[in-house]
């Protein structure tokens, strides 16, 4: 009888593993968000490639991965199985991905899409690991300047800089703004 037990064990275990494998592959493929047509931004994924601090275990098989793609721009990220087809234009709405496990707990990602572009990615459920609330979507990464901004064109009401003396204030941008605002 032992041999029969072995045979059946192998068969049933194999079947169970196969089902799990299949389910896993399906989840990964179907929950990827539609890829957008904002092509120029897609190349900026190479900028995020420089982000050293990707947390692989924090990525989700669904939706976009906030930490893997350093940019909030409309790109779909890595997920190996997420070969999502190109989207029909102008998809808008808020999409919630599946709850995914990370070393910090379970994370559920909500993606806000506006006219086919991802405008926001929000991590919904972040559990604390020993009082350390982790904002996995907010790790610091290198960024490039697009231009040197002139104060006048910026339409700001306040400028923050290192603390200046009173005299320095007088020649500061803030003073200029304050005078203009008066």
């Amino acid at each position: 009888m032992r041999r029969r037990a072995v045979v059946w064990s192998v068969l049933s275990s194999g079947a169970i593993l196969a089902v799990g494998w299949q389910l896993g592959a399906e989840t990964a493929a179907t929950t990827g968000l539609a890829e957008t047509q904002a092509a120029p931004d897609a190349s900026s994924a190479s900028v995020s490639g420089g982000s050293a601090a990707t947390t692989p275990s924090a990525t989700t098989p669904s939706a976009t991965t906030p930490s893997a793609a350093a940019t909030p721009a409309p790109t779909t990220s890595e997920a190996p199985a997420a070969a999502a087809p190109a989207a029909p234009a102008a998809v808008s709405g808020t999409f919630t991905g599946t709850s995914v496990s990370t070393r910090y707990g379970s994370v559920q990602v909500q993606v806000v899409v506006s006219n086919g572009s991802i405008t926001d990615v929000v991590a919904l459920k972040l559990t604390n690991d020993d009082n350390r609330s982790v904002s996995i979507s907010n790790r610091a990464a290198p960024v490039l300047r697009s231009e040197v901004l002139a104060a006048q064109s910026a339409k700001v009401q306040g400028v923050s800089g290192a603390t200046y003396t009173s005299d320095a204030y007088l020649t500061s941008l803030q003073a200029a703004l304050d005078q203009a605002g008066l």
Binding site: M1, V10, V19, P56
Partner: protein
């Protein structure tokens, strides 16, 4: 002690044989099912991980190591929980394969489970270290700063302690009770490792099937232990109110302890079973012993026979009448229930006579259906032999005795004299291959009988062995 045997009428041989074959088939299928369930539970653990997208997170070496670390943790924990279920003395498992076999499987899973959990820790530390770009040491320090993870490490440490002390070489140095106490730390190890599985091991995330499965498994393991190792024995001992009635020396170093109790028929003890006994006297309360019933219990009385083998059992031999006794069981499948063949062959030596005596008493046998061979080295080991010969169920059956030392230097279960005469197992039991063979005696002697039986071609399902050493 009056020994009563019920007068039972036997059905016709054919229907009895058919019934036996069916029962055996069912029992063996149940045993197979248990094996399949054990392996399937491991498969389910891994499969759930896969189903929830575990593999899609594998992109590079670091994440592969991390994933492998998670899987080894899942499999290791699953195996440990299976081990707990096997040690829980669940009646269903006892009836299907017997406690001794369950414990044997339990033992065999110990080291693999430990290695898997160790791998779990190592792989995850390396995997996270690689993906974070930090060192293994830094990662370990980071882990140690999480209180749940510290408990995980502590659980692992306890597990190592338990497994190391269970390795035979180390176990020998401890008294059984001391070893068992350390072994019970395994419950602690499993429980304190639970928090880190819930918080850091996000496989148990809320609302997932994984969580359901693992919680169910934990409940099954600890629930079984709670019920069958603690609650049921406590209730039984209280209900049956067993105490020592008399202690009778029947041979040098051998005593029969007569027990009195209430409503013992409710225990439904079959001939050949044993129970785990605890005698509540000053010198004996902290150890529990598996001892076979040497007679089928009546409504108010039972009898067990013990040989003076070590400090523990010698103390038992000296318990005084009136001592309270608690019972776990009855357990065992050295009974009439597991008959698979038309005839019965019984071989017993020394203290092995004990379960055989009650087995034969409790069996319903046709005249001449059974053949019994009793082995002793000398006259001091022939206790209970008269009783066996006098059993009503053995009317018309042959009871042989083989007395004498074995030939020096030769590994055989027979006496020198019998060997010289050319006696073999098959000559003593010509119908061996259509018999159920019941063997009970000292361990190494038993193994020799089994070796001969298998060599003669006896099917496994017809071989029934009572072991005392588990």
């Amino acid at each position: 002690m009056s020994i009563q045997t019920a007068t039972r009428r036997r059905a016709s041989p054919n229907s009895v044989d058919r019934a036996r074959r069916t029962r055996t088939r069912r029992r063996l299928r149940r045993a197979d099912l248990l094996v399949v369930l054990c392996w399937s539970s491991v498969a389910v653990a891994v499969s759930l991980y896969l189903a929830y997208g575990g593999l899609s997170e594998v992109r590079d070496v670091a994440s592969a190591l991390t994933a492998l670390g998670i899987v080894t943790g899942l499999v290791g924990t699953d195996l440990i929980l299976v081990m707990l279920v096997l040690a829980a003395r669940i009646p269903l498992i006892d009836r299907a394969v017997g406690q001794d076999r369950a414990i044997a499987v339990h033992r065999s899973l110990g080291k693999p489970a430990l290695y898997l959990i160790l791998a779990h820790g190592v792989l995850l530390t390396i995997g996270y270290a690689m993906s974070d770009g930090s060192s293994v040491v830094a990662e370990t320090i980071a882990f140690l700063q999480g209180s749940d993870l510290v408990l995980g490490y502590a659980g692992l440490g306890l597990l190592v302690l338990v497994v190391v002390t269970s390795v035979v070489a180390v176990r020998r140095r401890f008294s059984y009770e001391a070893w068992h106490l350390i072994h019970l730390l395994s419950y602690v190890a499993v429980l304190i490792a639970l928090p880190h599985q819930l918080s850091s091991g996000a496989v148990l995330a809320d609302g997932t099937l994984q969580r359901v499965y693992w919680i169910a498994l934990y409940v099954l393991a600890f629930g079984s232990i709670g019920v069958f190792r603690f609650a049921v024995p406590l209730i039984r001992s209280a209900r049956h109110d067993i105490s020592v009635a008399a202690v009778e020396a029947i041979a040098p170093g051998v005593v029969s302890i007569h027990l009195r109790g209430r409503d013992l028929g409710r225990l439904q003890t079959a001939g050949g079973q044993y129970a785990i006994w605890r005698f509540w006297s000053a010198k004996t309360w902290w150890h529990a012993h598996p001892i076979s019933f040497s007679a089928v219990p009546t409504a108010t009385g039972a009898r067990i026979t013990v040989r003076d083998l070590g400090r523990g059992s010698s103390a038992i031999s000296r318990v005084r009448p009136g001592t309270r006794v608690s019972i776990e069981g009855p357990y065992g499948i050295f009974t009439d229930e597991v008959r698979a063949a038309p005839r019965m062959a019984v071989v017993a030596a020394g203290i092995g006579i004990t379960p055989v005596r009650s087995l034969l008493e409790g069996s319903v046998l046709l005249p001449g259906e059974a053949t019994v061979l009793l082995r002793a080295t000398d006259a001091s080991q022939q206790y209970l032999w008269q009783e066996v010969s006098a059993l009503p169920s053995l009317t018309g059956s042959a009871v042989y005795s083989m007395v004498g030392p074995r030939p020096p230097g030769l590994a055989t279960w027979m006496s020198a004299e019998a060997l010289a005469r050319g006696v073999t197992l098959t000559s003593a039991f010509p119908d061996l291959l259509v018999s159920d063979l019941y063997v009970c005696g000292p361990q190494s002697w038993t193994e020799l009988v089994i070796r001969d039986a298998r060599a003669a071609g006896l099917p496994e399902k017809q071989l029934h062995v009572e072991r005392f050493d588990w």
